[in-house]
Point group: C2
Chain length 228, copies 2
């Protein structure tokens, strides 16, 4: 009595399920999303989901895996020929652009990180931590090299400065994601950061955050695969 219209390859329905699950997990969270809902959104039967993934947990992990993919990109590659100051600015901008363009999955991860006693995401917590620490190390290194060339205020201590910088970036991220603060002036805050790092008050060469995403296939973050 089954009206199944099987696809040639199971991968099709599997992808469709992953897409639906991702959407629902992102907007509603793990516990608030039922397998029936996923099935409805993916337009498959609930049983098929359990055929592809043994448990709800396994489905969730598969979604997490897919979400993490765009986080890896070799930043250093694409900006090797710029001077340290330009690289630094690029790196900072990349961070914010990435967050803006991947807002929903970043939200998702933050929400996950906030839960304690959650064994499921333990592995991913550490992976994200890895990315994060890699980014900070990159920042610190860049600041140190910029200082050696006199491109950056010399009195700053690279370690403390990179921590502070990253904290500031995360704070902006939070501001962007949590509340849509209308009166939060991102560009101005960035200008302040520049002033602090490089000693001049405003720099503002063209491009930057006000332009929409330009390269669809080039997510902005973070660091080479060797950090994962």
């Amino acid at each position: 009595m089954s009206s199944a219209v099987p696809r040639a390859h199971a991968a099709d329905s599997r992808d469709e399920i992953l897409r639906a699950a991702r959407h629902l997990f992102e907007s509603r969270g793990f516990h608030e999303t039922s397998m029936s809902e996923v099935a409805r959104e993916a337009k498959v039967s609930k049983a098929l989901i359990f055929w592809h993934f043994k448990t709800k947990e396994e489905l969730f992990l598969a979604v997490l895996g897919k979400l993490l993919e765009p986080y890896y990109i070799d930043f250093a590659q694409e900006a090797r020929e710029l001077d340290e100051r330009a690289q630094l600015e690029r790196l900072i901008e990349s961070y914010l652009l990435f967050v803006r363009d991947n807002a929903s999955s970043v939200r998702f991860f933050l929400a996950r990180l906030l839960r304690d006693g959650d064994e499921v995401s333990e592995e991913f917590t550490s992976r994200i931590r890895g990315l994060y620490d890699g980014y900070r190390a990159l920042l610190m290194d860049l600041i140190r090299r910029a200082q050696e060339k006199g491109l950056c205020v010399g009195t700053l201590k690279p370690e403390a400065t990179s921590s502070m910088l990253l904290a500031a970036l995360n704070g902006m991220l939070v501001e962007l994601l949590f509340m849509q603060s209308a009166d939060f002036d991102l560009k101005a805050a960035l200008g302040t950061l520049r002033g602090m790092l490089f000693g001049d008050a405003q720099h503002n060469e063209g491009g930057g955050l006000e332009s929409g995403r330009t390269t669809e296939a080039a997510p902005a973050a973070v660091v080479g695969k060797e950090n994962v």
Copy 2:
């Protein structure tokens, strides 16, 4: 057949329920906490919870209300006689101390803010936004007055600087709450902020974050009641 041992006033059991609910909501979240668990932890019957609160949602809102109480304190009162620089440092320190000492409820709120499509906490979102904007306004005002007295680097634009400062503080907060970054040097980052605001690299007078909470009854934040 009921073995009820009624209290003289219902408020007792009500408070006990709120305490238990708060604890569970904080550590496990709304959807992961069942009314039966709350009942068990509060050592009352499940039915009694529904006698005090019509629905689980209503219980949740009551918990939120109780959580927000310590967020209000008149900061300006307790630091009126200090100079602007000291006030600024005090304000910054207060922020971080408050977050540290109320970590679990701050986590709770962040987790709530991350959910979209959540009608329930809409009201609380705006209340928190109010607190937040009040704090920023206070920062900005303080920076401006400190500049007028020459206590603070004059080239900074108060508006952008306060935004940036707050972002940095929030970033540290995130770092403290989300991941327990062992290698995140909070004091150093604070020193960098000081250097940036006041032009000197290190200041480090005694007291500060490394001492445990000293005054049990004096939560540290944020701004006067007129902002709520």
